[in-house]
């Protein structure tokens, strides 16, 4: 009986404890539910408002991106215009070169012609005189022959010069695909630049298979090489320095590899990664447009479908390594324009 009652007391004590705990848990659960609902409301509101902000940001981004697209288009148009004027400027240089080069043979021709004219006048006066000898007739004939030879030789030289200028100038302004000998064509380009090279005291050495031909637009190669030469003449050497440019080319299966190397100052490593960027120039103040090498890059990557890399060591020189297909397809854009 005694042990029963102790057991009951113990059981009641346990049950009372359970009840206390459960009551407290219930009470806590109510309070927690209120807090959690409050948190849930805040979370819902936060989500709604953040989504609202995101929508607003998206709309702003869309607007900004439309504005940016427009700006990019405008910049592209401005860049095209600049590239076009840079091309025209290089044609202008070509014309100046033509004038200078042709001037020499024409000048010699004019002198020889006026000498011939004098000879003819002298001989005419002589014929009206009292004595006409065979010896003087022979002297006259010799004089006229010499003058004619000089005139003929110089007119031929002028004609040759004009022919090669015409080839390069026409190739630079009118693009068409044909098969051409790369060694000879590089020679023509150098001839057209000879005036500028002479002034800069820079010599050019061309090495490669003289029979190798390429099918493509020679005007593009002309622009590439002209821009590389002008870039080297302007940037690689200080005024008064002399230099040597080496152009090497070789057949590498489907491609032709061209190396263009100068022995000038070299390019600072900080600038090396930017040299193909549009408008990058270290000579902004002295008239550099910063487009020369960008045009080269675009022509090789875009028009020719080739690759270009630049290596440089300060104080030793700079080397451009280009690779382009031997058979170059006309760019789609141009075909569309033509049709």
């Amino acid at each position: 009986m005694m042990s029963d009652s102790t057991e009951y007391v113990e059981q009641i004590r346990r049950l009372e404890r359970e009840v206390r705990i459960l009551q407290k848990k219930l009470q806590r659960s109510e309070a927690d539910r209120e807090q959690l609902e409050d948190t849930k409301d805040k979370n819902d509101s936060l989500q709604r408002n953040v989504i609202g902000e995101l929508r607003e940001s998206q709309a702003q981004i869309a607007l900004k991106s439309r504005e940016l697209e427009k700006t990019v288009e405008e910049l592209k148009a401005a860049q095209d215009e600049l590239i076009e004027s840079a091309k025209m400027a290089s044609l202008g240089q070509l014309v100046a070169g033509v004038a200078h080069e042709v001037n020499t043979p024409l000048g010699v021709g004019v002198t020889a012609a006026s000498h011939l004219d004098n000879l003819a006048k002298e001989f005419s006066d002589y014929l009206e005189g009292p004595e006409v000898t065979r010896e003087s007739a022979n002297r006259f004939i010799e004089g006229t022959r010499q003058s004619s030879e000089i005139i003929l030789k110089n007119l031929r030289r002028a004609s040759e010069l004009i022919a090669s200028f015409k080839l390069v100038a026409v190739d630079q302004s009118i693009h068409s695909t044909r098969e051409y000998n790369i060694y000879e064509y590089l020679g023509e380009i150098m001839l057209s630049l000879s005036n500028r090279l002479k002034r800069a005291r820079v010599e050019v050495l061309i090495e490669g298979d003289p029979t190798l031909t390429v099918s493509g637009d020679p005007g593009v190669l002309s622009q590439i090489i002209t821009n590389l030469v002008m870039n080297a003449v302007i940037h690689a050497y200080d005024d008064g320095d002399s230099g040597l440019l080496k152009i090497r080319f070789e057949d590498s299966g489907e491609n032709i590899c061209i190396e263009f190397e100068d022995d000038g100052k070299g390019i600072d490593s900080g600038h090396l990664s930017k040299i193909f960027d549009p408008f990058f120039t270290t000579r902004r103040g002295s008239g550099g447009s910063g487009l020369g090498l960008n045009i080269v890059y675009n022509l090789i990557r875009g028009q020719v479908g080739g690759k270009i890399e630049c290596f440089s060591t300060l104080g030793k020189g700079t080397r451009f390594v280009m690779s382009m297909p031997k058979v170059q397809v006309e760019p789609i854009m141009k075909r569309a324009e033509m049709s």
Binding site: I21, D32, T39, K42, S45, L46
Partner: protein, 383 residues
Amino acid sequence: MFEVAVAHTNDPDTQEAVLEVLAQCAEQLQGKQPQGGIVLAAIDFDHPLVLKSIHEAFPECALIGCTTDGEMSSVLEFQQDSLTVMLFCSDSVKFHAGIGLNVSDDPEGISAHAVHSAVSEMGLEPKLCITLPESLTTNSIVILDGLKKGLGSEVPIVGGLAADQWRFKATYQFCGEQVVTDAVPFLLLAGDVLISHGVAGGWRPVGNLAKVHRAEGNVVFEIDGMKALDYYRQYLGPKKPSSQYPLAVFEGSDHFYLRAPSGEIDEDERSVSFFGDVPVGALVQMTEASREEILDASEASMRAAMATYPGKKPGAAMYFSCASRRQILGLRTREEFERVRTSMECPLPSCGFYTNGEIAPLAKGLPSQFHNETFISVVIGTE
């Protein structure tokens, strides 16, 4: 020798709860007298009775404690309205408890003086300071500054701010038999103690970046040309800003720390108070956290503590988890303890609580910092 007893009861009757806790401790200690300990109690208990009873049972024990927002231990896992006690016995680790009273009068000076005096009394170089300061009456960052000043920068400080079950009315701190409010109790450990810890959050910034235009200490008045309260209301609606929605305060473009609203607002000024200072000119962003991210972070915190423990055999673990985590986790709060327990390499006697703010260095060797929304795991031992 380093032995740890952990007792935990959810009996809401104070007398019964204390008896149960003491019985559990006696069983584990088997006659040994503990030298140090921590008491974590829900707000509704008769705290003087709790402390008096424990003190009577273990008069030599250096004891500190506080009220909480929820308790957890290796005995009953996560509980609310419960009482948990952790007691340490060791012949190679020395324990010394101290307290700074009326800390809001001079948070830095009182904290620095109290801890400095305690170090002198102990006569040993402390290796760790565990603190459970007041969270509502004063700026906790300044309390921490005071503790750092009094201890020197070498001693790591870990702990959590006393809480009151999300009521934000009054929290209580314990030291020996004393039950007070507006105080900073601390337990110093010296001797051959080995320590490691981990800190992780889980909150991430959402919404637009904004700039703090006007703030004084921990009270923010204007954000992005808007009154601070209106800034919060544009996100949370008419509800009062609460600590589950801290601001990410950016230092540089990637790194940020969190500052949580303390729940105190001024309707006239339309200002919002935070647990910690928010600098003028700082870029801030609203934040949110998912339950999964919170739980992943808790686990990461314990893994970090385990991975950096300098010895071979950890003796005990302590946790300080932000009360805001519990608010977001809801019914999944119990998973937090579960995830932390399973990420321990071996089962350890452990206890901890949901806090109104956490304290720990971001990594070993760095100065201790005040945190919001984090889970801090501390592992101690002698081997």
